[in-house]
């Protein structure tokens, strides 16, 4: 079959012919219908420091997709050939303390398909049954192909109370943009989007943020403090502050604009340690700061399905690029220049 492969320890990637994966008794073989490119894939493509430490080429990468079950191992009971599916690509061990106490999203032995083992930028991908997500037929394929990052957004937004809460979204990359839509769909208001890049601010507007702030030209803290009024009284910031940029300024902003008693949920990964004024910004304000990683298995997936099958989310403006798998380099370049939302890849034979 055709697959997008990182062939060796150097930048770039190649579309190659590789064998179709063989199935164990608990595995499912999925014919990939549509895949989507993550920032992580760009790291792999560019072979940055993180990729050099983590990857063992050759590797078929990619971890966002939807497809149709082609075949299933002998012990598989919940899906059958022809079913439309996506998958959780984080493989939890099922045996560690975290897995045994409903925290498999931080499994101590986590392996990621598309990073630690072959992924979905290919005609077929092999997935353990436990990680398969059978799709409600009402969910459109574009949406089904981005459940991984949408799950990050849903996990972050729903990590605490959200309905009737004022919310800030700091950083409007694809996951932050999805979080705007999710927060609105879940009753948040007002939703403030904070993003320096004008292209992304336009997408944030399309996602229906109530207020758009450009931190390079506005005093974000002052604006947030003056706008966040509840019961006629200034609250001192937002009820919920969600951080998707990973940038030190974004993180410090996310704390500063949180009102005393607020929740701050951090998904964006800063590249290195940063200085934080814990006394003034966290302790005396009585904040709850959460580190968010991956998706809850499988609460997040149930939540996503519920939101999507009832058409509660409108994500169409995010799908900016549709390319054949063999044209992957075009997508990587557009992402690198910050000129794309989500880039969808179609294995040859599928229709972009």
């Amino acid at each position: 079959m055709q697959a997008l492969v990182k062939p060796d320890r150097s930048p770039g990637a190649e579309v190659l012919q590789v064998p179709i994966p063989r199935l164990g008794p608990c595995d499912v073989l999925v014919r990939v219908k549509m895949a989507s490119v993550c920032g992580t894939d760009l790291h792999i493509y560019e072979w940055d420091s993180w990729a050099q430490h983590r990857l063992h080429p050759p590797l078929t990468f990619g971890h966002e997709f939807c497809g149709v079950v082609e075949a299933a191992g002998s012990d598989v009971t919940t899906v059958a050939a022809g079913d439309l599916v996506s998958a959780e690509m984080h493989l939890a061990c099922g045996k560690c303390v975290q897995c045994r106490s409903d925290q498999s999203h931080v499994c101590r032995n986590l392996r990621i398909l598309g990073v630690d083992a072959d992924g979905c930028f290919a005609e077929f991908v092999r997935i353990p049954e436990s990680n398969i997500w059978k799709l409600d037929p009402r969910i459109r394929p574009e949406y089904a192909a981005v459940l991984d990052p949408l799950g990050n957004a849903v996990h972050t937004v729903l990590a605490g109370a959200i309905a009737g809460q004022s919310v800030a979204i700091v950083g409007c990359g694809p996951i932050g943009l999805m979080a705007i839509a999710v927060a609105r769909a879940c009753g948040a208001g007002p939703v403030v989007a904070i993003e320096p890049n004008p292209y992304r601010r336009r997408l944030a507007a399309a996602m229906k943020a109530d207020l758009l702030l450009d931190p390079t030209h506005e005093d974000v803290l002052a604006r947030v403090q003056s706008e966040m009024v509840a019961g006629g009284i200034p609250a001192g910031g937002v009820d919920v502050s969600l951080e998707f940029s990973g940038h030190p300024d974004g993180i410090r902003t996310s704390l500063a604009i949180a009102r005393p008693g607020a929740r701050v949920s951090l998904l964006g990964l800063p590249a290195k340690p940063l200085e934080i004024d814990l006394s003034e910004q966290v302790i005396l304000k009585g904040l709850t700061v959460q580190g968010i990683h991956g998706r809850r298995m499988y609460e997040t997936w149930f939540q996503m399905e519920s939101l999507l099958r009832g058409d509660r989310l409108q994500l169409d403006p995010l799908f900016t690029d549709r390319l054949r798998l063999s044209d992957f380099a075009t997508g990587m370049e557009r992402l690198k220049r910050g000129e794309a939302g989500k880039v969808l890849l179609f294995p040859d034979g599928q229709q972009p």
Copy 2:
């Protein structure tokens, strides 16, 4: 001033001239702009058994309204003449264990304005500052006049997780109808409305329930069990079951259609004890059953304001009747016949 008064211990009510209330240092005098009739007001009007035990006429009744501050006592700091306001009409004592541990909605010394002391069916109403809710000017007066029952709905819907949850609304009186809109606005889906009265089912459709069930002609349990599929697997019922009818059949249905592990929140008050199969319906299913009363002070109000000022709720179909205060009897009769949503009353001088 003009007021709608229950003058003595008998059915009916009268519009009478009464003195404008005098203010203490912590009180606020509000000129009523619009009031709304509750089922409780009908009980008072009809002088049923509950009313006979609870009320001490003469009493100006009514406890749903919005208005404009006319005057404020010397210690009042958070509102001033001219402010648009509504109010929480449950007066909590502030000193009991419940009040001191964030449960003032079940204050052991609760008094209700419009039931235990004079209410808002009048040109003016007196409210302690602590209970005043200053309105965001973006909230339309019709909506501001029904924050009391809307708060019941919000309290019920948000008493647990709701985003991404399948929800049943059992009983589509005004509060159940509002709950449909609230649940949808807060990311629930699918939202199933169960109601025998066709007039109310039409309103439930206008509130955008995803599925309407008529318990007099359909096997509600079978329908719910077949429709509630998550991740391709039948869940065994809804994630969240909300009861607004108070009818024994409604209550038993709300338990039966709850999936193992579900939340069931009960607001409707049954008239007398009823038989429940606790083992099969609650214990072995691991349900959480919540009694819901009043509104959280003031979490529920913050949530309502957030939902309303951002236009997350569309309640217009509920406002079926607009009458002068002096035409109150017409409204009472229409409510009695089950032919009205919310009846709005306008003190003479205000424009219906």
Copy 3:
């Protein structure tokens, strides 16, 4: 091997020679060191209506035990021969909505070893690795043999806030008695035990209940309401009410003595539907009523281990009887007469 078997569809049981179970690749064979008798085992022994509907003899029953790993299947990685272990005997399917959302204690396809398949009243028992619990060596064998009912108690007590809460334990059978010790060890106070049987009240005293009430001779509601004072003010009942009797009077008492805003957790299973005054006892009081079943997998087990290895629980008074497996009938009779705490059974070859 020797096993205590229900041989056919009639009262009684027999110690018989049966084959040692054969292991699949994910199974563990455990040499039983000590087992313990549950009320369920008495139902099986007596062949009551529940047993007649649920069981398919022949069956080796028993589901509370500890032992030593004798052998492990080829895929087992977390335990090895010689390890001291106990086990969760509820086998969850792992694939239903409940199992995929951290509610496997109410798995829709639950099977119980010792009820639906062979159990532990035998020299050896076969357990899937997923359900094995490797014991900290500081945990004494008597305690390790009763982790199943202790887990019921821990699940019930820790189903909500408990530290610094006043608690009522309604019904002092073995699980209720354990719950007294657990509640105290977890910072509850005062702990009120309510039990008509004087033998059990003596055991409740040994478990260090702060207050013992006999509902046949005392006005339980009046006593609870007068004793529960917090911050100098009567609270109106206990903060947390835990029901273990399953008796209609016990259940109604558990609701009546709960203060407005309290948690009520129900574990005891009433034999048939009962009448409840939902309006006065649940809804207007704003109670949270929880159905409790089984043990959380495996949060409850982590909690138990933590409590036991640090010697936070003193359960010795409960171990009233130690018998050889072949003397099981003596234990059944003593349990039937309500004259025993926990009856421990030792497969022949083990030392009682």
Copy 4:
């Protein structure tokens, strides 16, 4: 009356004669029986940078005490002359968003008696009725005099699940020491105390920490990771990490020793911003980090009372010094040298 006063903007303090406070209608006058010295009082005494910015001398300081009601204003209903009381000395405004949503511990207009207005190092102190805590007579006066710092400890320990959790206490000053006792009393285990000062480690042993670690001589992370085993499997750290030192190393340790999925609660205030590796230590580990300030009003007080009246806490080793108010300087010096637990002060006329 006699009072310990900071007379002007310079180091030191003096015992002076000042007028007895005059009562408003909602105030209570308390005759101080015993007071206790906080680290904050030492800052005031030494007139450090924080004190210089915050205080407006002359001021009677001190904010930990118990006493007897001497007189009460005309509107006071919940206490009367002769009642034994303590008080919450943080005065919340009652009108801000935080106060109206059960977060008055981070009230935006918080004033502290003994810091922003006259406190309790005096024969009499004036307290608003809302902040008075009527004491259960079973609570011993030494314990009643330290409810403020004990409340900090209880707030920190009970800010999340604690029963059956492994817990680290980082920093064993008086509040950390109290937290050891509270965590044990609430079912935590094992409880690991981390403290470089040998005097404090001895007190930690007296508080019954299960494991004592000296970060100056031991590899704390390695020890914690090897000791924290649950269900036979290393958890990767503690379930709950509580920080009381405010030292940058302590804070970084508190994060490092938290297992993936853990709670970290920070009470100690670092003097300035510090560098944190958010990606590795918080986000990828999925931690929940809480800033803790003050005491929950009044949940924390109810919890303390429940723990104390049932003798669940043994704090005696902490009471190292008992002095007359006029001997305050001795106590300040001993605290400065780190040679004291809690220093109790007795207004002249009371018996030390």
